[in-house]
Symmetry: C2
Subunit: 227 residues, 2 copies
Amino acid sequence: MAPVFSIAVLLYPGADVMDFSGPVEIFSTRPQPGEPEFKITTFAHNSPVKAGALVYVPHASFAEVESRLEEYDILVVPGAHPDMLKTFIPSEEGKQIAGLVRRFAGLKPRGETGYRVVQSVCTGALLLAASGILAGRTVTTHHIAYDALKQVADQAAGGESGVNVVRKRWVDAGITEAGVRIVNAGGVTSGIDASLWVVELLVGKERAALMAEVAEFERRGEEGWGV
Amino acid sequence: MAPVFSIAVLLYPGADVMDFSGPVEIFSTRPQPGEPEFKITTFAHNSPVKAGALVYVPHASFAEVESRLEEYDILVVPGAHPDMLKTFIPSEEGKQIAGLVRRFAGLKPRGETGYRVVQSVCTGALLLAASGILAGRTVTTHHIAYDALKQVADQAAGGESGVNVVRKRWVDAGITEAGVRIVNAGGVTSGIDASLWVVELLVGKERAALMAEVAEFERRGEEGWGV
């Protein structure tokens, strides 16, 4: 039987709509018979949760996903306006999110599928940075937050983090010691490109191409946005 | 004072996430000081409403928006899988939506802003077709639904509707007798391009370019998707 990839999508107040809706749209494209499926579980500390201009009822609570973290193949972490993240990251919820990301990055690849991916979109990379998992890596984020990303990573490292921020649509930032792949999308719509690349990695180029066609999305290369 | 454009975004069970999230993302980009704002109101027959893989709490009920329809500048109508629309369009809710679209298309441009736009995304064009407002127009929709769109338009016309379906990212289908502009986006992500074009029309090229930059979205021309 084709595997089912389970995707946990973090929601929080002020999260950018497109940052998570892009990945959700791509991953939830109707599969062809016999093809792997992607199952979406949104989760948040509160329900309902207002993200951008829309209001959502998450499928699960933060605690529920936290308690079954090893059941997820992909963790999607969207961004928000950097001003909002500046106060959110040091908050109790922000710390719990950083803790969750750190724990996910320390899990072995999931037995059922052989994969584990943590995927930030846009300034969601700042939440990954706060967890410390980006230290020493080449990463990206929204183009207004390149400096902020470096600062958060350095702060988490208690000094120079060795983080190298580049202008790309998405970055494969390598795997953690446990074997979890870290992927950073650039700003907002870059999350669509990054998700298609994750599909390529997990299922294959053909499936990614079909998903892009269904979404009438002309894929853009990994290279920097606007260059 | 800069005008505030009010946008009513229809949600319904099975509506495609990106079809309405694309427009919401673009229209809700933070304005520069003194620039026109776009205010989003989602509405649905039921609350919460499951659209694609996500669950939403609409800002208003269908009846509320129906009773204050003249207060909205833009009506966004997302699509869904054509199989779902086949049963949804003749349903009581589907008929009410067609009625709402027809009434909106018959309103004069809003006094406060001088505009009124009905914007379908993807197979949302089928709901516009069911309302009869596409008769005699050149229109577009998702590429798997070109024939279905023509059929629904002909059925609404009780014969040949004179609808001409073309392969484009979006189409300016002209204005109604009352002065409401009809815009059809192609499939899914085309709604982003169509929304940027609507912003260009209502506010100007510069604002649309800034919104695209914030979203790290490289705009695609009006010409057919995939050509």
